[in-house]
Structures are given as structure tokens and as C-alpha cells.
């Protein structure tokens, strides 16, 4: 018997999260955005471009995952949705980076910094994906 021989009803049992959790997440996101905007001021621009890009990229990734995990319910939903979106991005991001570097983006940058910029986000995302690979809602046995 194959898996397709056991169709099961679509999951309809969400872990309901209180509104207050969403409000707290929104406040965290607003705070992170405020930090990002703060980096625009000239005083912070004394940072090297490399460091500024690393700080901004980290904040961007953290915000992205807060929205995806809580607002888009990936933290509570079936793990297949997470696999679907993150696996695609894990493949796409380095491909676009290689393309961009090959076409001359950031020509003066050290090659190891470029490799780090290309590899760190997929590694962090991949680690998170492995950590939460099965997800809390993996029990898709027939009801």
C-alpha cells in the first residue's frame, strides 16, 4: 500500500494563539525596524559598509522569521509548509548571490566575506529548519 492509499482529512486543529502574543511580536518587529532605521543616521554610518550590511542583514532575517513563524503560523502549522518555502529559499538565495557576484556586485569585497554573505543566511535557515524539521504538528495519522 502506498501513502496515497490512505487519504486523511485535512488538518483543522490549529493551536490558537492569543492576540496578546501577536501584539508582542508586532512590538518586537517595530523595535527591530526602529534599529534598522537608526542605522541610516550619519553617526552609525561611521561603521564600515561590511559591518553595516551584516547588521542589517541579520535584523532582516530575524524579522523575516518572526513574521513567518508567528504571523504566518509556520511555528504551529504542519511542517510541510515550512519545508516548502524554506527549502526553495535555501536553493534560490545562493544561486542569486553567485549570479550577482559573477556579474560584478560588490567588486571590491574580500572573497571570503562574499562567501560568508552567500552562505551564512542559508546555514542559519537550514539549522533552524533542521531544529524544527518535524514541527509540532507532524501527527498526520488518519483520524
Amino acid at each position: 500500500m502506498t501513502a496515497t492509499a490512505h487519504p486523511v482529512e485535512a488538518e483543522d486543529h490549529h493551536e490558537h494563539v492569543s492576540d496578546w502574543v501577536y501584539i508582542k511580536i508586532a512590538l518586537i518587529l517595530a523595535f527591530l525596524t526602529a534599529i534598522e532605521v537608526f542605522t541610516y543616521f550619519e553617526s552609525v554610518h561611521k561603521m564600515s559598509d561590511e559591518l553595516l550590511i551584516i547588521v542589517l542583514s541579520t535584523l532582516m532575517v530575524v524579522k523575516f522569521f518572526f513574521v513567518a513563524a508567528y504571523f504566518m503560523h509556520l511555528k504551529y502549522d504542519n511542517a510541510i509548509f515550512t519545508k516548502m518555502i524554506v527549502a526553495g529559499m535555501l536553493i534560490a538565495y545562493p544561486v542569486y548571490c553567485v549570479f550577482a557576484f559573477a556579474m560584478g556586485w560588490l567588486p571590491g569585497w574580500n572573497v571570503f566575506v562574499k562567501i560568508g554573505l552567500m552562505a551564512i543566511p542559508p546555514i542559519v535557515a537550514g539549522a533552524w529548519l533542521m531544529f524544527d524539521w518535524n514541527g509540532p504538528k507532524e501527527d498526520t495519522e488518519a483520524h
Partner: protein, 205 residues
Amino acid sequence: MADTALAPDAQVEHDPHATSLGVSHEKLGMWVFLGSDCLLFGGLISVYLLNKGRIGPDDIGPEDVFDIPFTSVSSFVLLLSSLTVVLSITALQRGDIRRTKIWLLTTAFLGAVFVGGQVYEFTAFYREGLGYTTNLFGSSFFTLTGFHGVHVSFGIILLMSMYIRAARGKLGPAQSEKLEIVGLYWHFVDVVWIVIFTIVYLFPQ
């Protein structure tokens, strides 16, 4: 024997709630769409990064036109709309139709404010001399942010269609997954903007 083996598949075909994956097909379909949309925006962002510096010494560049405080306010507005849409979903799951409608309208309004801000920004850039075909920076910038604006506009239409369904009594707790799917689209538009705002506006030029 073959007929016996095919029977469950036939059941899947006829029962909209039966699924071999144990997840909703509609929701999975939306995630697949969002995954493909990631590739579209990934391509547009890459092209922008490549082209933003390919301008002549006297050409208009990013630092000549960007108004970071204004765009920051727009970003906060879109971020806030992600909260309001999720509040509309939880209200619907509780069966509170009145609050669902209020939060849906609020989200659509915030989305409209964001699109209005983008139209204002585009107009201001044009008056400063940056048109779609002025240089490579202008072409890639307007294409990227314009595509995002179209996504937000389409999201507003989806939200208003949900509002109309709720107003006609055709959206209740039993149909909350429909609103959840629209919410997924809206959050995706928000996360794309998180990336665009950081890379296009805040990265050192």
C-alpha cells in the same frame, strides 16, 4: 485488484476534505505560490543590486532621491497591517464577525496608505528627474518596487472580497481557512517588503 487500488484516489477526488498529505490543498497551493513568488522577487532584487551602481557620474542615483524617514513610516504602516490581518483571523476563529470586519477594513486601509505612499514617492522621484527609462537604477528600482505595489494592491482586493463575504454572512468560523490563506498572502507581501526596505533603501549605496 487495480480497481481496489484506485479507490482511495477516487475518494480524494470526490471528497474535498480528503488529502493524502494531511494538510489542506488550498493552503498548500498558496504556499507553493508564495515559494514561486520568492523566486520572482529574488530575481528582481538581484537585478536591482546589479544595476543600482551602473549610472553615470551626473546621473540621478539612490542617494539623490531616497527619503528614508518617509519610507520608514510606510514600512511601519505595512508592518502594522500584518498585525491587524492576524487579529481579523483570530476574531473570525472566535466567531466575532464584527471585529473580523473591523480588522479587515483596517488592514485594507493600511494597505491603501502604503500604496498611496508609494505613488507619492514615485511621483516625487519623477519630478526630481528619475523616470522609468532614465537609467538602469531607475528601471530596476521602479520594476522591483512597482511589482511589490501591485502585490499589495491585489492583496487589498482580496481583503475587500473577504470583507464583502463577511458582510453577506458567507464568512464564519467554518470558513476561517479562506481568510487564513488571504492572510498568508498579505504576510508574504509584508516579508518581501522587509527584504526590499533593508536591501534597497537601507544598505549603504
